[in-house]
Amino acid sequence: MSTTTSAQSKPETPPTDERLASSHGMASILRRPEVGALVAAIAIFLFFALTTEAFTRASGASTWILTSSTVGIMAVAVSLLMIGGEFDLSAGAMWGTTGLTTGILMTEYELNVWLAILASLVLAIIIGVLNGLLVMRTGLPSFIVTLGTFFVLQGLNLGVTKILINQVSVTGLQDAPGYVQGQQLFGSFVKLDLGGSTLTIYAVTFWWVAVTAVATWVLLRTRAGNWIFAVGGAQTSARQVGVPVFRTKIGLFVTTSLAGWLVGMLGLFKTTTVQSVTGVGQEFIFIICAVVGGCLLTGGYGSAVGAALGALIFGMVGQGIVYEGWDSDWLFAILGVMLLGAVLVNNFVKSRAEAVR
């Protein structure tokens, strides 16, 4: 109201505004959603680095970097979906579904490696579109719809696999024709010798960095990103100004499925094996990482970098506990506390962002 009044008394103001100084610089950095996760990640790193010896040793670090990367790819995709106002609980099972599909096609049917990869890619897109269509057409909460898809996939992963190959896991992929080609893209690694200890960076980590970079670019610098924030923040308003809500949401569900496919391929070609239960139980981990990274559960706010940092925290805590010699059962308790803490911080940040400055 005060702005309106002042504008009338002096309609012509210079383009540079003296009132900007107070709210720029440091304040605009602190306004970013991923700040909390960054601070937490640094604190957790320092804690484990100072209290254990193995944590920062190159071979030790390789382990938590690997975990963070795998979870991170999914967390980044899930964060986009959450900013768009939806959940995908089938994301974890998708990881197994795609791995099993490609694995079975290659070992049992000796299909060409690229065709096998393409087949699971198509399957992932179909499941993503189905998830999206079900949510958008029925108007049901995505939480329920994808919970359904999750159970269907979990059941199919076991049932179909047993019917086709009479066991619950695919093994011996390294003997399948064309394995090496797929392995180069998804399963290779770089070894760096650092003072007697070897740092192993797997392909998954490069994919993670790339996925995070692309997701951030899309979110902040493209029309699609603008639409993702809008459909999550106020779907009706977005539709009214001409945002293609339907297309945006379907795209987000497909993106999450594609991330599941990517992680499925990365896991399959790195380990040469995949279990029927691969990925099951991970779906909430992705959501926790996204929330720790600054995503609001109600949508419309969050960050891909934040989700990547959330995954980094998850990887560091999981491995740090082991190096501390603590019982790894504590991981879940710690995750729960972090989730609650993050939700409180996010709500505080949100109300700050909406308050009149």
Partner: protein, 298 residues
Amino acid sequence: MSSKGTADTPSEADHGSPGPPPAGEAVIEVRDIGKSYGSVIALRDVTTSVRAGQVTCVLGDNGAGKSTFIKILAGAHQHTSGEFLVDGEPQRMSSPRDALSMGIATVYQDLAVVSLMPVWRNFFLGSEVTKGVGPLRRLDTAAMKSITKSEMQAMGIDLRDVDQPIGTLSGGERQCVAIARAVYFGARVLILDEPTAALGVRQSGVVLKYIAKARDRGLGVVFITHNPHHAFPVGDRFMLLRRGRSMGDFAKDEVSQDELVNMMAGGSELAEISSELSSDMGPASPVAKQMEADVQHK
């Protein structure tokens, strides 16, 4: 895709794509238009016109059919009877996008803003300015920020920071962003759904000023309100709705403000309320006396 010419060439956008038609020419005409949902008739036999450089006020109490009427104009609903002409051509629009492409923009009561997003992102939402091609096609954030700032200044609102979430603006300012947005994107007809309903006296005055400003720029404005005191000062044409029916369509010189107020409230109903009040509160109570005076005054 939605990237019409205006989105990619911002410098030309405020002239509007086809340019506003000469003042006084009818852009939208509706003849005996109606809408029914199954057996429920929400609106029937409504006739009026929207002319360039004029304000058409749609007046009606709650439930009079105002929302149904604007939803037809905005392309959100299709009419089930009557004729809907845009530039003299019969039209049947299937989505708000169709209406937008004909230059009919709607500013809804909830303003169609996303409160957590910055002002400039809201301003360009759905019609973002981009630069670059192919995978490098990206938002031109600098251009969008400066256009937002200057367009808001043209409307008389000086924003500190276009990066602040739009939720931090006051109601009148948000209304202004929505109007400025519609005008910038080449609207020829601006439909305002109860823009003054949630505002105080001062802010309402500010919004009325923007309505007049939009009219002076050659736009046809449809101003929906239940307040004849807001409608009369800016309106050129008044269409009254009551219980889904049109009570008449008047030019400004055919009707006085008092007549409008009376038709709005419905003379007989007003008398009824007046007698009810005096029996409830006693004929000497100030409220009942005022009501009595109003009834006699007409």
